[in-house]
Each structure stands twice: as structure tokens, then as C-alpha cells.
């Protein structure tokens, strides 16, 4: 009995020493001015994609105060989504691992641009590990398998190293993004932090692009897995509020909802909006963005949102993301104001999670729905983010057709969900 006490005491003493050591090393690192991560941002809004690429890469290299480039993250508008652009980057940087995707518009410190390419170069200290991977031809295999494949590839070579975070980009036109995430989680861990964005196009919903090293891909996903001593904070919010009485999903599989309150699912929308089927189909883009359904999650501040992708002739609704049978759902309504409040909440959540550590850079995955809802006020959202950050914190972001991030409620153990209409803010510690 006494011996046990002794052992416990030694352990606690040891852990105290370890804690002290950690603090000391952190202080000494700070004093030496060494950052665990170095960032170089480059942006071009030139119409000529090749000249633009060269300009952005040159700027990024100049801003990165390091000779060693570990990883490149690229977001661009559709006019930059061709192979020559990425061959050019490869020529200029050498064989640096690259991930990224296309977007309706790119977000950066300088503003929101409908045409352009943003590149972020990252250089890590020796105690941060990472690996990149990609999965192709998702549509020819069961979607969960594609997720598992990406997970396995990311994990390759990560044995014995603490895994911290994964960031993934996927084709925005994959119909069941939730199952892809489930597959990925089976490999990486159910409550493993994951931040993801689904690529977008110019709202034509025709084709979105993923960038992996020198390749430009569709029907694919790519990502990075970090391990070692990476500090990060994640915040995710949408700001939509429930309206009207609760409903119950009485019949659904995956992302198809057949019945709500024992009636064809589409009836709910018909009733709320007083639209007939034809009118509802005509206005679907608006209805889907302005009034998504919210799935109730016990213990969470916010509902999990789902946009309608399609109304089927039998009255069932296909959503972007799964809707489990027996879920309690509400019709949701959003305003510009609530949308912007959510933005600052998400940013604060991300900052809080970093416990006051300095931010190295910020990734923003912002839903295209928010871009459409905010309209001319989209710039305001970026202003809010910039106001709450240090002036030189590099910001890179895109508009997505879906976001993935963990909810923080304890019951869900930080499990990542496939979201619609949110702003996901990922802050990486410096």
C-alpha cells in the first residue's frame, strides 16, 4: 500500500518535471525566435493563368523565410484548374508535396477573388511529421471504401507517431460525403480531429477539381495527416436557427429521405413555402440554401444542417450528407446577421482551442451557401476574421460545397461530421 503511494508520488513528480520541461522548452524556443512552422503566402489575380501562377509562387517563396519547403496548399478559381499550372509550380518549387482544390472564389488576406490562385508554402520544424495522399475514381467503388483507402494511404509510415490532425479536400459533387467521412474515420479513428472541404466550381455544379502534386483530378479526394507536435484549433458554426415545430424523419437511407412525419418528405417544404412541386424545383437552389433542414444533436449548440440536392418524383428528397432515420429535424432559417455572428463564434472557438498560442496561419472553409446568402456582404465576413487576428497572420481559404469538422459536445467525443452551410476555421499554431 505504502509502495503504491510512493510510486504514484514519483509519477506525479515526474509528470510535473516533464510539464516544467515542456514550458521551459517552449520559452526557450520563443526566446530563440524559432517557430514550429513557417508560412509563405502568395496570391495572383492575373487573368493569364501561367503568369499568375509564376507571380503567386514567387511571392510565396519570398514570404517564406526558409529554404526548406515541406508542403504546398493551393486554392484556385476554375481558370487555374489545368495541368500546366501545376507543372509550372513543380518546375518552380521542385518536387514539393502539394494538395488543394478548385473554388468559386479564393479567400486571402488581400480579399475575396473570383479569379485567381492562392498558394501557401509551409515549412515545419523537425518535431512535426506529415504525410499526403490521394484517392482517385471514387464513383467506381463503394464510397466508404474510398474513404478507407485515403485513410490507409495517409497512415502509411505513421506507426509509432502521435497523430494530431488531418485536413482533406474532396470532390464537391460526391453525392454522399458523409459515408466517405465514415470510411475515413474507420481508419483514422472515430474521434480523430479532421477538417475538410469539398471543392466547388462556379455554381454550375458541373465539375470540381482536386490538386495533388502535379495532378489535376476530379472524382477524387486528397489530404494531409499531421503528427508530432502540431498545435491547432478548430471552430465550426453556421448561425442558422430552427423555425416551426419539430418533425421526425420516418423513413430514410443514407442521404435519401423518403418520409417525414409519415408523409412524402417534399410535403414539408411544399407546406412551409406554399409552393407546388414545379415552383419548388425552380426555386430549389434558393430554398436549399435559405431553408435547409437541421438535424437535432443532443447537447450541441447548433443543429447539423443539410441542403437539398434534388427532389425526386416520388416525393423523396436527396440531401447533401446523410440524414439518419428517426432523426428529429427542424426547418432552419438564416439571416445575414446570424451568419456573421457564427463567423466570429467559429473563429473564437478555433482561437480558444489554441490556449493563447500564437497563430501560424488560418485556413477557412466557407460554404458557398453563405457566399450566396451574404451577397455583397461576403467581404464583411472576411473583415470580421481579419479584425480578430494579428495583422500578418496568413489567411487562405475557399468556398466549399460541404465542410467536415468535429463537433465539440462530449457525447459525440469530437467526432467529425459532414456539414452544410458552415464556416470552418482551422488555426495552426505557430
Amino acid at each position: 500500500m505504502r509502495e503504491r503511494k510512493k510510486i504514484l508520488k514519483t509519477i506525479s513528480a515526474l509528470s510535473e518535471i516533464a510539464a516544467l520541461f515542456r514550458i521551459f522548452s517552449a520559452i526557450s524556443m520563443k526566446m530563440a525566435g524559432e517557430m514550429a512552422i513557417k508560412i509563405g503566402m502568395g496570391l495572383s489575380t492575373k487573368r493569364d493563368s501561367l503568369k499568375g501562377t509564376q507571380e503567386a509562387v514567387r511571392e510565396a517563396r519570398l514570404n517564406l523565410q526558409s529554404q526548406k519547403i515541406d508542403l504546398a496548399v493551393v486554392f484556385s478559381s476554375l481558370d487555374f484548374a489545368h495541368v500546366t499550372v501545376f507543372r509550372t509550380i513543380n518546375n518552380l518549387l521542385g518536387p514539393v508535396p502539394l494538395i488543394g482544390c478548385s473554388s468559386l472564389a479564393i479567400i486571402s488576406n488581400q480579399g475575396i477573388f473570383k479569379h485567381g490562385l492562392a498558394i501557401m508554402l509551409l515549412s515545419f520544424s523537425a518535431d512535426i511529421y506529415f504525410s499526403t495522399a490521394c484517392v482517385k475514381e471514387i464513383s467506381v467503388k463503394p464510397i466508404a471504401d474510398a474513404g478507407r483507402e485515403l485513410g490507409e494511404k495517409l497512415l502509411y509510415g505513421f506507426r509509432g507517431i502521435r497523430r494530431d490532425l488531418s485536413m482533406i479536400f474532396s470532390d464537391g459533387l460526391i453525392s454522399d460525403g458523409s459515408s466517405f467521412i465514415t470510411g475515413l474515420q474507420e481508419k483514422l479513428g472515430m474521434s480523430f480531429p479532421l477538417a475538410g472541404a469539398s471543392a466547388s466550381d462556379n455554381l454550375a455544379f458541373k465539375r470540381t477539381y482536386l490538386y495533388f502534386n502535379e495532378e489535376v483530378l476530379s472524382d477524387a479526394a486528397c489530404g494531409v495527416l499531421w503528427g508530432g507536435k502540431l498545435n491547432f484549433g478548430l471552430g465550426i458554426k453556421h448561425g442558422w436557427k430552427p423555425l416551426g415545430k419539430p418533425h421526425r424523419v420516418t423513413k430514410s437511407t443514407g442521404n435519401i429521405v423518403y418520409e417525414i412525419d409519415n408523409a412524402p418528405a417534399v410535403n414539408m417544404y411544399k407546406e412551409y413555402l406554399a409552393y407546388d412541386l414545379a415552383k419548388l424545383r425552380q426555386e430549389l437552389k434558393h430554398v436549399s440554401i435559405f431553408y435547409p433542414i437541421g438535424i437535432y444533436l443532443a447537447g450541441e449548440d447548433e443543429y447539423l444542417l443539410r441542403n437539398i440536392l434534388l427532389i425526386q418524383d416520388n416525393g423523396s428528397l436527396i440531401f447533401q450528407g446523410n440524414v439518419p432515420q428517426d432523426s428529429r429535424i427542424r426547418l432552419m432559417i438564416g439571416t445575414k446577421e446570424s451568419c456573421l455572428t457564427a463567423t466570429s463564434q467559429a473563429l473564437n472557438e478555433a482561437k480558444d482551442a489554441l490556449l493563447g498560442r500564437q497563430l501560424g496561419c488560418v485556413f477557412i472553409f466557407d460554404s458557398v451557401s453563405r457566399y450566396m446568402l451574404l451577397g455583397r456582404q461576403a467581404k464583411k465576413e472576411l473583415e470580421i476574421i481579419k479584425e480578430n487576428l494579428d495583422k500578418d497572420t496568413p489567411i487562405i481559404g475557399l468556398y466549399t460545397y460541404g465542410e467536415q469538422a468535429p463537433l465539440k459536445a462530449l457525447n459525440y467525443q469530437g467526432r467529425t461530421y459532414f456539414h452544410n452551410q458552415t464556416i470552418t476555421i482551422l488555426g495552426i499554431g505557430g
Binding site: H115, K245, H286
Partner: protein
């Protein structure tokens, strides 16, 4: 028995109690059911309200979106107008229309064709969102089609929405331009080629409203205006350029002529100058010998020879005078004679001159008057030269004025200069000769000149002297009434 009675009684009471409690429970349940019912009712009511909210919100959002679109469109239009109206070069106007402007107007394809009447074909002036091959195809399709020319002729804008009843045409335009929605508006400058502006989008969601059609019509109008301005400017510029060229050529010709003239004039001056010099030397000897002979020191001279010698003496004096005048003119022209300017009293000078000429004045009984005001008395000039001026002009006046005539000298200030006039009541100078009298060796052909000798150099010399003082001389004259010689001199400062 008792006990059974009790038991019965007890059972009865118990069952009563049970019934009562059951009733109470039932009542309570009913109450709760009622409450649930009420709750359900209020929930339903709330849901009805929610429906109202959603419908109103939807309307609001759509209106807002339309408004946003219109504002964005107006902004884009404003930017575009500024871009195209700040250039006066036709090609620049089209180059300034950028894809970003179009995007703000919610279109991604655009082109402008201008109709070349002579070639019977459209000229592509601008295209956005099309490759060169595509635009070539579109152009060849539009060349054959009357529809587009009719738009120019009728000054009419059409759009995919305005052609609801002409599905054939709409389909055809959509096919040619590879778009889903479009607006075509005529570009109508008053000068030169006219044409059409086409904008369109592939997007299925875009619905062209009246607002869009209006915006594009305004844009097309402004394009027309800008073209007109550019063309007018081009014309004016070209004309000005031609004019400048002509002026330049003429100036060169004149400069050449002037230079030649200068050379000739200099040669003349040099010639006169050297000839006069050469003449003066022998003249001096002639006059010298004549004078010596006249003194009689070389022997007595008979009266006939005396008379001839007097003539030689007088003529050589005149000749010397002539040569001196010539030399002075040459000197002034070549700039070798420097005017020694000083402050002079005008009255004083004139009086000195009058002293010299008093004999002639008396002879002809000329009424002489001097009208020089106090503020116009001081001049800035070379004393001896100005004296020569007055001697020449006044003696001319005396010469041409008949007996009992009148000569008036006046002076007045005019604009920082002094104007002096010598008026006589003489025979006057014919108008056509008034300019020529200032030329060398020019003599008016009249009776007096035939009688009185003169060199024809006096006024030429006067003119040179006045000009060397930065002044000007002219004559106003009427035949048989009189002449007024006026000249200006710088005023003393």
C-alpha cells in the same frame, strides 16, 4: 355476522374510495390530455406562424437578391462607362471592356460586331468568353442573317426574355452564340460603322429581366457615344494635323524667301557702302581742287571759269551729300550705325531745326505753329539723327507748300510712345504713291519735283532712322489739300 357486516361495509367504503380516486385520476388525466391538446394546438399555431415567416423571408431574400444584382449591375455599368468614355481611340474603347465588368453584370460572354456596308460583312471589334475559332464561326453565321441588321435599322434591343413568342429565332440565336440567355442591343454612332453588342450567359439559372435589358441598352448607347466621340476626335485631329503640316510648309517657304532677301539686301547694302566710300575719295579731291582753284591762289580765274567752277563746287557738294545719305542708310541697315539715345527736349530740337530753315519759311511766308503739350515733350532718341529727321520732313513740307501755306507740328502721348505729326497744306501725295515715297530714289512725279532738285533719299533715310528707334512712320495725305507725316518715338522713361 357482525364481522361480515363490517367486512361488507369496509369493502363498500374501500370500493367507494377506489371509485372516487379513479374518478379523480381520470379527471386529472383528462386535464392533462387537455393540456397536451392545448400545447399541440399552440405548437401548430406556432408552425403556422413559421410558415408565414418562411414565405415572407423567401420573398424578402429574392427581392434582396434582385436588388443586389441591380446594384452590382449599376456599379459595373458605371465602371464600364468610365472606362470607355475616358479614351478617344476607337480600338482602346473595345479593349477596355473586361471580363470582370461582364461578370458583375452576370454575363460571361460578349462580342461586338460593326457592319461594313461596302464589304457587306461584320467586323469583329471585341469578344470575351469565345475562342478565335468560335468567334469566326459566329461572325460567319451573323453575316448571313438579316435579323442583326434589322436590329441596327430599327434601333431595337432584344433578349432571350423578350423573344418569348419567337421561339424559332430565340433558339437560333442561342445556338449561334452558344448561350442560354442573352441580350443584343444596337450600337449606333452617328458617324461611321454601326453594329451590335451581344452579351450572354451559359447559366441555366439566369433569367434576363427588364432591368438587364435596360442596362445593356444603356451600355450599347454609351458604346455608340464613345465611338462617335472617338471618330469625331480622329477627324478633327486629322484636319488639324493637315493644317499644321501646311503651315509648316508655308513657313519654310517664307523663311527661305526671307533668307534670300536678306542675302540680297546685305549685298546691296555692302555694295552701296563700298561704292559710296570709293566715290567719296575722288569727290573730296574734286571738291578740294575746285576750292583751291576758286581761291585764285593758282592764278586769276576768268569769270566764265569762275562760274563753271562754282557749279563744280556746288554739284560736288550735292554729290557728297548724296553719298553721305547713302552711306548712312547703308550703315543703319547693316546695323553698324548705333543710335546714341538720350533724353531730349522735343521743343528744343524743333526750334534748332527751325533756325536752320527760317530763311525758306520767311521766303514763302509760311504760317508755322507748334502744338506740343507739356506731357509729350520729352523723347528718348539720338540727337543728331532726330535733327536729320525733322530737317528732312520740315524742308519737304516747306518745299511742297505754296506761298502763305501752313505747317503745324504736334505731339501727343499714345500708349508708351510719342506720336509726332508734321502737317502741311501742300499739294498732297496721290494715294497709290504714299507707301513708295519711303523707298530709296523714289520721287513723286509732279511739277515741284521737276523744278526742285532732290536725291530721293531723304524720306528713305528718315524711315531708317525712325525704325532704328523702334518707331514707325506713315503719311496721310489728300491731293491739293495737304499731307501729314506722323511718326512714333519711344517716350523717355
Amino acid at each position: 355476522m357482525y364481522s361480515s357486516d363490517y367486512l361488507i361495509n369496509f369493502l363498500g367504503i374501500a370500493s367507494m374510495a377506489t371509485i372516487v380516486s379513479l374518478v379523480i385520476a381520470l379527471l386529472a388525466k383528462m386535464e392533462r390530455l387537455k393540456q397536451v391538446d392545448n400545447l399541440k394546438k399552440s405548437l401548430d399555431e406556432m408552425d403556422e406562424q413559421a410558415k408565414l415567416i418562411v414565405r415572407t423571408d423567401m420573398e424578402l431574400n429574392k427581392t434582396q437578391e434582385e436588388l443586389d444584382k441591380k446594384i452590382a449591375g449599376l456599379y459595373a455599368l458605371q465602371r464600364l462607362s468610365r472606362a470607355i468614355s475616358t479614351t478617344l481611340e476607337e480600338e482602346q474603347i473595345f479593349q477596355r471592356i473586361e471580363a470582370s465588368h461582364l461578370e458583375d453584370l452576370a454575363f460571361e460572354k460578349a462580342c461586338t460586331f460593326l457592319w461594313n456596308e461596302r464589304e457587306k460583312a461584320f467586323i469583329t471589334k471585341m469578344h470575351l468568353g469565345y475562342s478565335e475559332d468560335e468567334i469566326e464561326q459566329i461572325k460567319s453565321a451573323t453575316d448571313l442573317e438579316e435579323t442583326y441588321l434589322d436590329l441596327i435599322k430599327n434601333e431595337k434591343t432584344i433578349s432571350s426574355s423578350s423573344l418569348q413568342d419567337e421561339l424559332m429565332l430565340r433558339g437560333q440565336i442561342k445556338g449561334v452564340f452558344k448561350v442560354n440567355s442573352f441580350v443584343i442591343s444596337p450600337v449606333l454612332p452617328k458617324e461611321g460603322y454601326r453594329g451590335i453588342l451581344f452579351v450572354g450567359t451559359e447559366s441555366i439559372d439566369t433569367v434576363i429581366g427588364e432591368g438587364d435589358q435596360e442596362l445593356i441598352t444603356i451600355l450599347a448607347n454609351q458604346l455608340g457615344q464613345a465611338l462617335e466621340n472617338a471618330r469625331l476626335f480622329e477627324k478633327t485631329w486629322q484636319a488639324q494635323q493637315d493644317l499644321e503640316k501646311k503651315v509648316e510648309e508655308r513657313t519654310q517657304e517664307l523663311t527661305r524667301a526671307l533668307n534670300e532677301l536678306k542675302v540680297v539686301s546685305k549685298r546691296k547694302t555692302d555694295f552701296i557702302s563700298s561704292v559710296s566710300h570709293e566715290l567719296r575719295t575722288p569727290l573730296t579731291s574734286i571738291k578740294g581742287y575746285a576750292s583751291i582753284l576758286l581761291t585764285g591762289k593758282l592764278g586769276k580765274i576768268p569769270p566764265e571759269i569762275q562760274e563753271r567752277l562754282d557749279k563744280i563746287n556746288r554739284h560736288s557738294d550735292e554729290l557728297v551729300h548724296l553719298v553721305n545719305d547713302l552711306l548712312d542708310i547703308a550703315h543703319i541697315e547693316s546695323g553698324r550705325l548705333i543710335m546714341k539715345k538720350e533724353v531730349l527736349d522735343l521743343k528744343n530740337i524743333i526750334e534748332e531745326v527751325l533756325d536752320l530753315l527760317s530763311m525758306q519759311l520767311k521766303e514763302k511766308q509760311i504760317d508755322f505753329s507748334l502744338r506740343i503739350s507739356e506731357d509729350a515733350n520729352i523723347i528718348f532718341a539720338d540727337r543728331s539723327q532726330i535733327q536729320r529727321v525733322f530737317i528732312n520732313i520740315i524742308s519737304n513740307a516747306i518745299k511742297f507748300t505754296s506761298v502763305k501755306g501752313k505747317i503745324t507740328i504736334s505731339s501727343h502721348k499714345s500708349n508708351k510712345t510719342m506720336q509726332i505729326g508734321v502737317a502741311d497744306t501742300g499739294c498732297g501725295i496721290p494715294e497709290e504713291m504714299q507707301e513708295a515715297i519711303f523707298e530709296e530714289f523714289y520721287r513723286v512725279d509732279n511739277l515741284i519735283n521737276q523744278e526742285v532738285k532732290g536725291t530721293g533719299l531723304g524720306l528713305a533715310l528718315v524711315k531708317r532712322i525712325i525704325e532704328a528707334h523702334n518707331g514707325r512712320i506713315w503719311v496721310e495725305s489728300k491731293l491739293n489739300t495737304g499731307s501729314t507725316f506722323s511718326f512714333t518715338l519711344p517716350q523717355s522713361t
